[in-house]
Chain length 684, copies 2
């Protein structure tokens, strides 16, 4: 069906409407590394990179391995590596190009992420020059396919608790890598079932009877003869919910000995006599520093998920502008996109996707700043971690939600594999729990928000705190002070819709979204304070507030996205384009406010009247945006070779036109049968 | 992995807690046809009925076909057929037994639904005795595998608009079945790609130049030689997002001639000379009567989806009571189910699943009453249709949501195919758009609610209407009259949590849920009234209110579920069990109220204070229910042969115990390395 899907391989489908500047919007969306993105998209127009849906797991795995070699041939995956090995030391561009692979095949994206983004990055980021010289060339040219062995069956999110041990033996100057119990088996590792010949293994480093915590070791898995080395155990994870082009599996180690120098020793080393040394004194900070160097996985998932959402919406919205179902008032069948409910299903998700893509570019700039060394302070690293933990959950959940809504909006066609939506959703499913479980990540963000909140009071005296407490109460429940501050109570008694729109513009959206984050964090902090120094009570209180803390973190991420979208608006000159994109930003902001409307009401941030108007304002925005829907998805810049979904190829319009022509012809030639009900009416 | 999954094949996993009467709750859940459900569950303990995940599409299709023969051998699928052919004329029991197949393999469920529930039912319900005699025996024993050819590429939900024609030719006394354009090709039909040798085809019946609307025809597809008959076109739909054990495909007809008597003529007939006759005068009513006989598909999807949710929760909650992650205040790793957020993720969904299973049994009773003829009036049929259109969307969406949350709650393990969750979700995906697109069905419910609403005013005079309008306004925006009626404003200034709990018990929950449906419908009706007789304006207004009408329909369905749950409570005698199930019902009610909290606030149904307390009340209910979580999923009655998910087999507890024993042993023998941070603390 590939032919049908890609044909007609010419201009994108457009509707005859007052247009926006699609090229300019595309530039904005492609972002800072647009050139690399365009290069990657051009490369994957070659069908050799495409997913072949009909392949079974085993053939799919082999195809993806061969595609990895194609990526090497195309110099598509070396951008982040050191120049002395032929890389570009271009961290941002590397991630941008990597993300684009998702529309070729998410298995290809993630398997190349395993090889160069995880296995390769561990050597690059955690190893030192000797390690780079020895292994990076083989990693880069894929002569050393490798696994990244961090997660264990027993421990996913809590990496510090992994059970694998690396015990130093000074007699032979070797580390003994060992899996002490079944739960410590390394699990879900790409390249582990079949292709990996080495692995970067995270294990508890034990020397001289002291456990120095988790460190990373380079462990060969296979000898020259291609046979697994003694003590190496492998199991195949078999079929998964998606990403079946990747050979995920388990690795276990039965007293496997590796040279002392295979410890990737950038942040901690063991001398020949077994003495441990590290430039970072605190074991906790050392652990987080090591993990922090691997943040790029989260960065890239945020981008890949956002672009997958974009592709899903391109397909569903293109189809919705062609597909007709049920007669309208004029007796003609109505195009799906003209239904109020259909607009409500797709357009807010389109707005969110825009916001995420804009937010992602800022995130990528931050990442590039840190990893290039330009803006690499501990604070920058911490901000980057927090940003990753805030944005990756939102965009990956959004991708699943959007791809599902897109599939449902295309009905049975959406369920056909050839139309891409189900396959993308299956593959992206795991994005919400790997590289950090989304809920665990948001909890990290929440804790950071609490810490930042507490910092405000450092060094302040009791009087200042008391004053603050009063301020909190005044802004809280049932008092309406918030309302008076915003002047809503007065202004809302005018003409409803216009006045309400004026009261829900940029500044008010920001106040509402930012105010919610601040208030939620302050409220939670207040409730946690009761724990004092009682550890058990503290844990209980934290648990009682866990769900809300995660909500506050989500609100924080949403605010960041809203701000990124708003910043992007300032970079548009064409007034018509700016107007339409502003509506889209408003739609993003208002659907966030609608989602949490009860919160804004209870906390006195919105008057009843204004709150009651939010939903109808969203409806009006959807109706205004409707004529630009196709422009807005065309601005994603996907070409037929990227879309490859027959229903978004124009085939649906052809079919509908053919049917309409058939009936018109019947009527014109007088051959149409008369409808029984018309006949009955005539007889009466 | 089947062995690991099913072992230990003995008692279900239990926690040592004050228990509820699990057997009694299981009886309630199994419902009116519990005996048939138990019989079906016993049958599918045989691994011959299980899905084999490793099979590719083609082998999976053949396996499912062979399983259909097994169903025949087990007399598992004939319960609804006439006694004279060996059936039982037991409509409710038939559906109950059929639904249970979903835990064996949803492909098996749906393919048997195609054969006996759609193809067979069309002959049974739309045909007459001659047709029954001729074809039902072959349908029942599977010597005539058949397709149900209703949906077309161009028309899914709008069946009345299908393009296929059946034109009567009096000269030969034949109907000519024809596909006039590509959009009229029959699409997504199970048994069409491979196995079907006949089809029940829905086409516009044209005779003597009059189109009498859609009727159903029995069309042979293959001759005795197994070769497709002249004019029959078949295409294979290929890979789908799920249900790949079914050979879905397309059928087209190029002037295919069938005998006049192949019209399934129960509701409309054509005489040899071409004269049309029907006992139902109105073509519209005739069409809906014919379609109405096929409601059982929706009935069975509601049940199957609810039980699939139950299985997903059984797996995720069992795992969550064993899996530990991150240290608690006591230094021990915490069981997932003890986390506040984890409870929030799984327990409200458990409550909803209970509500749906109870509502489904009432629905099934209604269905059985109509189809047995016991309570078969036009009103009963209309109520049944509405019930189907209200409940099927809610339960099928809930299944996708629940299976996804369950998969995420199991982390990477949830993504492994062997643990069932991803496979079930993929297979059930299409349930939300087939047998009636969920949004289209809810819109039907919404229209029915509007009609019923309008009926209240039939024959009333202007004064009554005016009085009613005043009543509406008084209960509406910004007035707080609703609050005073409920006495909330006064009672809520007492001690917060207890008073709020008292104010959110059964009666208040019902008032809030029912009040919302009534108010929404009244509001929408009021806004639509402005359309008057202006068709175009009416269509525009309807479109503007479409999303909200669908919401009102959803609220109606939720209310029915809540009422069914509440009725079930009255059938529990054991006080402890009743208390726990009442909490669960409260959790269901309150999470519905929480979801629409802004609505209740804006419409003056809840005071600010009471609204602010809803979420924390839900948290308290989750904590109270936590000790009973395992009992509540064990009450679904699934045995290891139904669950077949290694992570829910006890394997996780074994692994966690093994790891804890390993560390305890190390500590006891003094061999444990000292932690670096502990060492540092000692040195200070």
């Amino acid at each position: 069906m590939v032919d049908a899907a890609v044909r007609p391989a010419n201009a994108p489908i457009v509707e005859a409407t007052p247009a926006i500047d699609v090229a300019r919007v595309n530039d904005l969306l492609m972002g800072t590394w647009g050139d690399v993105r365009r290069q990657a998209r051009e490369m994957i127009k070659d069908s050799a990179f495409w997913r072949k849906d009909e392949l079974g797991k085993d053939e799919h795995r082999e195809r993806v391995l061969s595609q990895l070699h194609l990526l090497v041939d195309n110099k598509a995956v070396h951008r982040a590596f050191p120049k002395r090995f032929g890389g570009e030391e271009n961290n941002g561009g590397n991630i941008a190009g990597f993300e684009e692979l998702v529309v070729a095949d998410p298995s290809l994206q993630i398997k190349s992420g395993v090889q160069w983004g995880l296995f390769g990055s561990a050597i690059l980021q955690l190893g030192t020059e000797e390690h780079h010289d020895k292994w990076l060339p083989g990693v880069m040219d894929l002569s050393i396919p490798g696994a990244f062995a961090m997660t264990e069956i027993g421990h996913g999110s809590d990496v510090a608790a992994v059970g694998t041990t690396a015990t130093y033996d000074p007699e032979t100057e070797e580390f003994v890598i060992h899996t002490p119990f079944r739960g410590a088996v390394k699990e879900y590792l790409g390249n582990a079932a079949l292709h990996g010949i080495a692995a970067t293994v995270f294990a508890q480093l034990i020397t001289n009877g002291v456990n120095h915590g988790v460190h990373c070791f380079y462990v060969p898995l296979r000898g020259e003869d291609g046979v697994d080395l003694p003590g190496i155990g492998r199991e195949d994870d078999g079929l998964k919910g998606g990403l079946n082009g990747i050979d995920n599996g388990r690795l276990s180690f039965d007293q496997v000995r590796i040279p002392r120098t295979n410890l990737l020793n950038r942040y901690g080393d063991v001398a020949a006599d077994g003495t441990y040394s590290s430039a970072i004194d605190s074991p906790g900070r050392r652990f987080f520093t090591m993990l922090g160097t691997l943040v790029q996985g989260r960065v890239s998932l945020d981008g890949a998920a956002s672009w997958a959402s974009a592709l899903g919406l391109h397909i569903a919205i293109t189809y919705a502008t062609q597909r007709r179902q049920f007669d309208g008032a004029d007796g003609q069948e109505v195009v799906l996109m003209d239904y109020g409910k259909h607009q409500r299903r797709l357009l807010p998700r389109l707005a969110t996707t825009y916001a995420q893509i804009f937010a992602h570019d800022e995130f990528l700039q931050k990442f590039d700043g840190v990893f290039s060394g330009r803006t690499d302070t501990p604070d920058d690293r911490e901000d980057l971690e927090t940003l990753a933990a805030a944005l990756k959950p939102l965009s990956t959940w959004h991708a699943l939600d959007t791809l599902q809504e897109a599939r449902e909006a295309c009905g049975g066609s959406g369920f056909m594999f050839e139309n891409r939506l189900v396959g993308l959703r299956q593959d992206l499913d795991i994005y919400v729990t790997f590289e950090g479980d989304n809920n665990v990540l948001l909890q990290l963000v929440g804790k950071r928000l609490l810490t930042d909140y507490a910092k405000q009071f450092q060094g302040k005296d009791a009087a200042a705190l008391a004053k603050f407490a009063v301020g909190m109460t005044a802004g809280k429940l049932f008092h309406g002070a918030g309302l008076r501050q915003l002047g809503q109570a007065v202004s809302d008694f005018g003409q409803v819709s216009r006045s309400v729109e004026r009261g829900l513009r940029e500044e008010q959206q920001h106040d509402l979204l930012a105010g919610r984050v601040q208030q939620m964090v302050a409220d939670i902090a207040g409730r946690l304070r009761a724990g004092g120094k009682d550890k058990a009570l503290g844990a209980r209180l934290f648990n009682e507030n866990q769900a809300e803390l995660i909500e506050a973190a989500r609100a924080h991420g949403e605010l960041l996205q809203w701000e990124a979208f708003t910043d992007a608006l300032r970079r548009i000159d064409d007034p018509q384009t700016k107007k339409v994109l502003t509506w889209l930003r408003d739609l993003f902001g208002l659907q966030l406010i609608e989602k949490h409307l009860a919160w804004h009401l209870i906390h006195g941030r919105l008057s009843m009247q204004r709150a009651a108007a939010v939903s109808s304002y969203i409806d009006r925005l959807c109706a205004r945006l409707r004529p630009y829907a196709l422009d807005l998805v065309n601005a994603f810049g996907y070409e037929p070779e990227h879309v490859r979904a027959p229903i978004a190829s124009g085939i649906e319009k052809q079919r509908q036109d053919e049917a309409r022509a058939y009936y018109a012809d019947l009527a014109a030639t007088g051959k149409a049968p008369i409808e029984e009900k018309v006949l009955k009416r005539q007889k009466r």
